[in-house]
């Protein structure tokens, strides 16, 4: 179980782009206002929620909504500006130390590429050592993963020589090696072919059946509708709607999650201005 308490992340961004936009409008008054060069803004703005054991929670939102930043903070890759992340272990003990939390998380995103010049087996052995597993334990686990993910053919090849699908399986193996309680996946199916994407979807389902928790972000609404127990929709760093896919659809009177998404985003935009 993982809990986000008032998570916020502040970044500084150049607002040069904004200045240009307004100069396009030839609106001198507005341009003068925008002349201050740096702007601080919240990529994630006071978000709180809890993900229960055995749940699959999907995070939806347009680009720049703050999904990646939120997941990075939950994975303790990034430190929150405000708020905290708390993880509750199976035995009920509470963890707040980033390193302890990382020990129990399998984190996968488009940015977590694999080391190219070592083989999958070497990588898994190194990870086993870092996660504090014994040699025998690691070897046993590698054997299991290898058969589950069908990696026997290429486990000893250097990763740079693997095909995209094989690399994806090696990436999943990376998250599995230490049998974490929670998986955090940031757009795991982005850019994959149908077979690889389906493999990941079925993997997530299977992990749920084993009582593991999955938190993931995606742009594929059909996939989310069919997979998730609960959806968090975020926009401009805030949660704008949450609930089961069915609840979101009935609330907005939509037939599917895609329409519900549009309806919610439209509503937010109208309130905004």
């Amino acid at each position: 179980m993982i809990t986000a308490e008032h998570l916020s992340k502040q970044f500084t961004r150049d607002i040069m782009a904004k200045e240009q936009q307004s100069s396009d409008h030839q609106n001198k008054q507005k341009r003068k206002k925008n002349i201050s060069k740096k702007e601080e803004f919240f990529a994630v703005d006071d978000i709180s929620f809890t993900v229960e054991k055995g749940e699959i929670v999907g995070i939806l939102g347009p680009n720049g909504a703050g999904k990646t930043t939120l997941l990075r903070m939950l994975g303790t890759l990034m430190e929150p500006t405000k708020g905290r992340v708390i993880m509750t272990a199976e035995d009920g003990s509470i963890m707040e130390d980033p390193i302890a939390i990382k020990q129990n998380i399998g984190y996968l995103s488009g940015n977590t590429k694999l080391f190219r010049r070592i083989s999958t087996r070497e990588m898994l052995q190194m990870l086993g050592e870092i996660y504090g597993m014994s040699k025998e334990e690691t070897e046993e686990r590698i054997g299991q993963i290898c058969s589950v993910l069908d990696m026997g053919d290429f486990i000893d090849n250097r990763i740079e020589r693997l095909s995209t699908g094989q690399t994806q399986r090696a990436s999943i193996a990376r998250c599995l090696i230490h049998s974490p309680q929670l998986y955090i996946f940031d757009e795991p199916t982005l850019g994959l072919d149908i077979i690889s994407a389906d493999a990941i979807v079925s993997f997530m389902k299977q992990q749920k059946e084993e009582g593991k928790t999955v938190l993931y972000s995606t742009h594929y609404l059909e996939e989310a509708q069919f997979l998730c127990d609960r959806i968090l929709m975020i926009y401009k760093g805030k949660i704008v709607a949450q609930g089961s896919p069915a609840k979101l659809m009935t609330d907005t009177g939509s037939e599917n999650l895609r329409d519900a998404f549009h309806a919610i985003m439209k509503g937010v935009d109208e309130n905004d201005f």
């Binding site: 990382k102 977590t112 504090g132």
Partner: protein, 718 residues
């Protein structure tokens, strides 16, 4: 506990680096091949040049020389030996014979070094008909020609082309021949007078003996070359893996993977640092061993062939061992510094851009061994790079000063630790780990990719200042030497043009960076009043400083005297108007305009004023120009218009010009302006008046500011 996790991470980094063939090549293969090839190549090249010189027959025309036939027959007697069994030995004997002048006994054996063929113009007539000797020489049909003018103090003139190697050697060949001829005449004359030749020509006989051991002499030569070679090789060894584990990691997208692991950033960076250090050390090791072996081989070969030059290579062993030890720590330092720089880059290419200047600095540091009279001392032993270079010279000349070596070793340990600490600090920053690179030096981007209306970064300011400094130093000083007063104008023009060109290249926001805004009348008035106050304040302060810095004051007046010969309008233009525009654009424009974007306004103002002070390159001027610069920048900050500070600057320099030009008149009217010293009371009065007037001036500026605010507000409400 820490090492439990660093261990596997380190292993991963090492495997990653070692499996990269490029690194392996740089680390092991290159050093092993480089030095033997260098030595062999150098030896080959040298002997090829000598061989070539000995084999070439230089064509010399002596048509106008009356004793041509005699010279020719003399040459026949002394013609160089061709294809002898021991050419090298022969050559040295010849040279020695000529230099020590003790070869009279074996006159017969004395041979010339170079072959000459005596060409006549008639022989050349076919192709070069109607040409003068000089034209034939220019056409390179002959290598030199000799003319004779009995009336001249030096009847023989050897004409040659300094730009041609062959012609230069031909000149030498003729000179050698004339020397032989001269000797022959001398002997004949002396024999006629029945005098002892040896007694007359060599009344003082002496020899020099080099008391340094052969090893020391050799060591001195080696010690000058080796530091740069070693430092470059370590840089090469460390640079590539340093980029690979930092920027390369970001580029390949594996950095975030590492961040998902249950390890601290410190453990991560330490594992990387250790891996690169090991590579750098191994690379240094291979370099030093290979270099030692190659040079050792070369010298023992030379010693064999020359004979009599005995070298004990084993005596270099302690030097090599100690060099190895210090080099290990230096490698740590280089590694940490390279990683600190590369960590900001997001790609290999960018990292290369960042590290090249660092490498240049390291190389220049190692060149210190070529500078005469710079020796290892308590001070130089603490300067990184320089200390290692100088220590190697000491080591190789067998002057062991263990106290200084201790400082070198210790300072390298300290510097490497500091660099590692900085590295750890930088690596802990999310801005660095997740950012899109440093971007403080915008010049590295192509102009077509530049964003419109940029504000230059801090790196740009530093670069611009360096460029300006170099230009003023070389171009400005050069122009002043050549053009005299006109050179001052050139310098001032440079100060204006360089920042403008730089801004143009960056597609910078001129208006914003240079604060180009039309000032209001009230603002100009405020600026003017502020300047009057500042002038009074500065006058007071310089009176305070005069007793402290008398000398530089005197030098100042001397330069002014040259200026004063110019007509007034020229002085006003070059000394008052041009700096008012140029220096304002540079310091209150580019420097301040860029800095205030990146830091707090007050800090930007202080830095810009300090730079303005330093720029005047004189201690006495520093304090006053610092204050002056600060008041200028304050006015720019208050009014947002550079024209206000230009007015102040113009007034300021104008007064200086007038005071100097009309010194006597000013002395009568306002004596305080030309005084050398002032009493405490006067100083106090000047400072107090200055401060009060400044307060009034800035008050006026504030007034105009609030006025314009009010009018804006009223506009809005309207």
């Amino acid at each position: 506990m820490i090492f439990k996790k660093i261990g596997p991470l380190f292993k991963r980094e090492m495997t990653d680096i070692v499996r990269d063939k490029k690194t392996l090549f740089m680390m092991v293969v290159l050093p092993i091949l480089l030095y033997p090839l260098m030595v062999v190549g150098m030896t080959f090249l040298m002997s090829a040049i000598t061989m070539n010189q000995q084999e070439t027959v230089y064509k010399v025309c002596m048509d106008e020389v009356p004793v041509r036939a005699e010279l020719e027959s003399l040459y026949e007697q002394h013609a160089p030996l061709q294809e002898t069994e021991n050419e090298g030995g022969d050559q040295t004997e010849n040279e020695n014979g000529a230099e020590t002048d003790n070869g009279s006994e074996n006159d017969e054996a004395e041979k010339l070094t170079y072959s000459i063929s005596f060409v006549t113009m008639d022989e050349l007539a076919g192709e070069y008909a109607g040409m003068t000797q000089e034209e034939v020489l220019q056409a390179k049909a002959i290598d030199a020609y000799v003319t004779y003018d009995a009336a001249s103090e030096y009847p023989y003139t050897i004409h040659f082309l300094g730009a041609s190697d062959d012609s230069q050697t031909a000149e030498q060949a003729v000179e050698d021949l004339l020397e032989v001829y001269e000797k022959k005449l001398q002997s004949e004359k002396l024999a006629e007078l029945s005098l002892d030749e040896d007694e007359i020509l060599h009344p003082v006989k002496y020899q020099s003996e080099n008391m340094s051991s052969n090893e020391q002499t050799m060591g001195n030569v080696l010690g000058q070359m080796i530091p740069m070679l070693i430092i470059i090789s370590i840089m090469m060894g460390a640079m590539y893996p340093a980029i690979d584990v930092t920027a390369g990691e970001k580029e390949r997208g594996t950095l975030e993977t590492l961040l998902t692991l249950p390890v601290s950033n410190f453990e991560l960076i330490m594992s990387k640092f250790l891996a690169v250090s090991v590579i750098a050390c191994v690379s240094a090791f291979f370099n030093i061993i290979s270099m030692g072996a190659a040079f050792g081989f070369m010298f023992s070969y030379m010693a064999d062939s020359i004979g009599g030059l005995e070298l004990h290579l084993s005596s270099f062993a302690p030097a090599i061992l100690f060099t190895l030890l210090v080099m290990m720590f230096f490698a740590l330092f280089v590694t940490a510094v390279s990683m600190c720089v590369c960590i900001f880059a997001k790609s290999f290419k960018e990292a290369n851009n960042y590290i090249t200047p660092v490498m240049l600095v390291f190389m220049f540091g190692s060149l210190v061994t070529m500078v005469p009279n710079v020796e290892l001392s308590a001070m130089t032993a603490a300067i990184p790079i320089v200390n290692i270079s100088l220590m190697i010279v000491k080591l190789f000349t067998f002057t062991y000063d263990y106290a200084l070596f201790g400082i070198v070793l210790l300072s390298n340990v300290v510097y490497s630790l500091l660099a590692v600490l900085v590295l750890g600090k930088i690596y802990n920053s999310e801005a660095v780990l997740f950012s899109e690179g440093m971007g403080s030096l915008k010049l590295f981007n192509r102009r077509s990719e530049m964003k419109e209306n940029q504000i230059p970064g801090i790196g740009d300011v530093i670069l611009l200042l360096c460029v300006e400094l170099l230009l003023i130093f070389y171009v400005g000083t050069g122009a002043q030497l050549k053009l005299g007063f006109g050179g001052v104008a050139v310098t001032q023009a440079l100060i204006l043009i360089v920042p403008l060109v730089y801004l143009w290249y960056l597609k910078g926001d001129y208006k914003k960076v240079l604060s180009l805004r039309r000032p209001k009348l009230l603002q100009l008035l405020g600026a003017f009043v502020t300047w009057i106050g500042t002038y009074s304040l500065m006058l007071g302060i310089s009176f305070m400083l005069v007793p402290l810095l008398q000398e530089s004051m005197q030098a100042q007046t001397e330069t002014w005297e040259i200026f004063m010969q110019q007509p007034l309008w020229v002085l006003v233009l070059v000394v008052a108007l041009m700096p008012a525009v140029g220096e304002e654009c540079m310091f209150r424009g580019f420097v301040y305009g860029s800095l205030k974007d990146k830091m707090k306004n007050m800090i930007a103002m202080l830095i810009a004023s300090a730079l303005f002070g330093i720029y005047h390159m004189s201690l006495i001027k520093f304090f006053t120009t610092f204050i002056l610069g600060f008041m200028f920048v304050l006015v720019v900050s208050e009014t947002g218009s550079i024209f206000c500070s230009m007015l102040m600057h113009f007034c300021n320099n104008l007064v200086s010009v007038l005071v100097m030009k009309y010194a006597s008149k000013v002395q009568e009217a306002v004596p305080i302006l030309t005084k050398e010293t002032a009493g405490a009371g006067e100083i106090l009065l000047l400072v107090a008046t200055g401060l009060v007037v400044i307060a009034v001036g800035t008050g006026l500026l504030k007034l105009s500011k609030s006025k314009s605010k009010n009018s804006k507000n009223s506009e809005k409400t309207a």
